[in-house]
Assembly symmetry: C2
Homo-oligomer: 125 residues x 2
């Protein structure tokens, strides 16, 4: 995999935010420093970065969100403000403990939660 300046800019943008941006978000932001950046380039790079496990994708929403934090963590989406928040649950433990008994080879897992976030809960009070 080559490292074009566009690819570098996309990766460093994703790594620099906490917000789990979409392809459109990424395009809008990186376009500021690369005015000619096309959306197709964003998608192509996101797929490349995914293949090389430099980023991960969150697909539960209608739109795919991308995450530069590849550590083992889970996601919570607020139904009110739509933000996606990192949480840490011991999912690995229960997958390792209960997984084997089903006989399948589990390569990856993902716990996704939805509800109302702390902030939104307090604001409506």
């Amino acid at each position: 995999m080559r490292f074009s300046s566009q690819r570098e800019a996309i990766l460093s943008y994703i790594r620099g935010v906490q917000s789990h941006p979409t392809a459109l978000d990424i395009h809008a932001s990186v376009k500021k420093s690369f005015p000619s950046l096309s959306l197709g380039t964003v998608y192509r790079n996101l797929n490349q970065l995914l293949e090389h496990h430099l980023i991960t994708a969150i697909k539960q929403d209608e739109v795919v969100h991308y995450d530069g934090n590849i550590s083992d963590h889970q996601h919570f989406r607020c139904k009110n403000c739509d933000s996606i928040i990192d949480l840490e649950f011991p999912v690995r433990d229960i997958v390792l403990e209960h997984g084997p008994r089903f006989g399948h080879e589990i390569h990856a897992y993902e716990l996704y939660m939805t509800g109302i976030c702390k902030n939104c809960k307090n604001e409506t009070k």
Copy 2:
């Protein structure tokens, strides 16, 4: 919510299979008894049934899969044969145990796993 014969046929089809069918699968099957059934009707009914919590949706794939089994269970998708298999993990327990400390109101959760299923693993041997 009224219960048209189309709606009833769609629901009973979803309830009668283990396969987590897509809208297209459902349309193809129910069309056999309702030749004029339109795909739009399938989607409209699926969304109605979802709102009334009579079915659930699995959105991790590119295509939405539907599930007539609304009991608390998890899903595993085989990367080889693409089948979606029901599994039971004590996810509820860890969400109840670890959830509250983050301060968000968790309404729903979903553990989704991918890998190679038992059958495909044995076939390639």
